[in-house]
């Protein structure tokens, strides 16, 4: 039976009018390296961030990584492959982050990482973001990646993303005065390093197991 599909695919293959874009890829690669050297000579920090951006964009596209799908697919299509992948990415990062943060803490330096105030603003903003990314078909990193892949619609998303960011920045004073608490909660400061690490990895592993079960369950539907 698989035979018929293969022959169908083979028949279609003969019709394709394939162009090889590899030479253009090499031109773009040369340009990227050229820009890196130019930046390194002028703003070294920018050259480093440029390299990070290239590696991340390349990886996002090659692995079809999608943070939006990690939240949306369990709801819409029953797939949890990306949910598990995002949990894994957070887990990997957590190990290195914890080491860097702990080293800073024992030297009496400020704790590095993204530690921000948490309150009703987090819940409202995250829910808005969740709705937005599903109807736009991509979040921030996804939109940038898809602009690079040639999606015209994502250029519109990006423009309105920027307008929305400016709008949020404009209203930020009101949110700060009325809603956003001052408190940033870093788990190890709140409950100690060992309990924080146990909770951190306990939750990540627990969610992974849950996602794995749910993913297996839905393929029977």
């Amino acid at each position: 039976m698989n035979q018929s599909l293969s022959s169908l695919a083979a028949a279609r293959r003969n019709h394709k009018t394939k162009h090889n874009q590899l030479p253009w890829g090499i031109v773009v690669l040369a340009a990227i390296i050229g820009i890196a050297f130019f930046l390194f000579a002028n703003v070294p920090q920018a050259a480093i961030m440029w390299a990070f951006g290239i590696i991340i964009g390349f990886t996002l596209q090659r692995s079809r990584f999608c943070f939006t799908a990690s939240m949306r697919d369990p709801v819409l299509t029953g797939s949890t492959s990306l949910t598990k992948a995002v949990l894994l990415a957070i887990g990997v990062a957590s190990i290195g982050f914890a080491y860097i943060q702990h080293s800073a803490a024992v030297s009496g330096l400020p704790i590095p990482g993204n530690i921000s105030p948490v309150g009703p603003n987090t819940a409202i903003g995250a829910a808005m973001f969740g709705i937005g990314m599903v109807i736009a078909g991509g979040c921030a990193s996804g939109t940038l990646m898809r602009v690079g892949e040639g999606f015209l619609i994502q250029i519109i998303t990006l423009i309105f993303f920027i307008i929305g960011s400016l709008w949020g920045a404009h209203d930020f004073g009101w949110w700060t005065a009325n809603i956003i608490p001052k408190t940033k909660i870093f788990l190890p400061t709140l409950i100690g390093w060992i309990p924080a690490l146990v909770i951190q990895f306990g939750f990540l592993i627990g969610l992974y197991v849950l996602a794995n079960k749910y993913g297996k369950r839905s393929d029977k539907i």
Binding site: G25, F65, G125, M145, G148
Partner: protein, 175 residues
């Protein structure tokens, strides 16, 4: 092209999600250790918006948001001195490069008015939401949670609730 060649494996066939997850996790760790700040995407969007608004004659620097120390310094310093602005452009070019090397680049035209409506509404919601929640899927969900900040975990719970609502809206109005 032989499907098992090195070219096919590395540049043509999609990598596994697991491969992507490990590289992204390692990249974020390296970024935090080298530059002192974890990966983020949306804060630069507010700067880009501010710079355009300044060109149009606006004065966003008088707003509370841009009078905060880090944001004030960032909009004065300009694009090339803002690390995440540069990495954002890098993401576009990295994805462009990956698509070309796979010989899979295609300009995808806009299909319908529904798509445009989704892009406008979705873009605005994400832009505004990320400002008040202190981050997006990257700055809050990925880097915030990995930083063991409670806001990352709260963000994870509520973005999932948002995604459920968004999915209902999508199947009802956007397909």
């Amino acid at each position: 092209m032989d499907n098992t060649s090195l070219y096919a494996k590395l540049l043509k066939n999609p990598w596994s999600y697991t491969t992507g997850a490990i590289i992204l996790g390692m990249a974020n760790i390296t970024m935090l250790s080298i530059t002192g700040s974890a990966w983020g995407v949306t804060t630069p969007f507010s700067y880009w918006g501010a710079w355009f608004y300044q060109i149009l004659g606006g004065q966003p620097d008088t707003w509370f948001y841009f009078s905060q120390k880090t944001h004030a310094a960032a909009i004065t310093a300009g694009f090339w001195n803002n690390g995440h602005s540069v990495s954002n452009i890098g993401i576009i070019f990295g994805a462009f490069l990956a698509t070309l090397l796979a010989s899979q680049f295609k300009i995808k035209k806009i299909k319908s008015k529904k798509q445009i409506f989704g892009a406008i509404l979705g873009g605005l919601l994400m832009g505004y939401g990320a400002r008040i929640a202190f981050g997006c899927n990257i700055g809050a969900l990925f880097s915030g949670t990995a930083s063991m900040s409670l806001h990352g975990w709260v963000f994870m719970l509520f973005i999932f609730i948002g995604a459920i609502i968004g999915s209902k809206l999508l199947t009802k109005y956007f397909i």
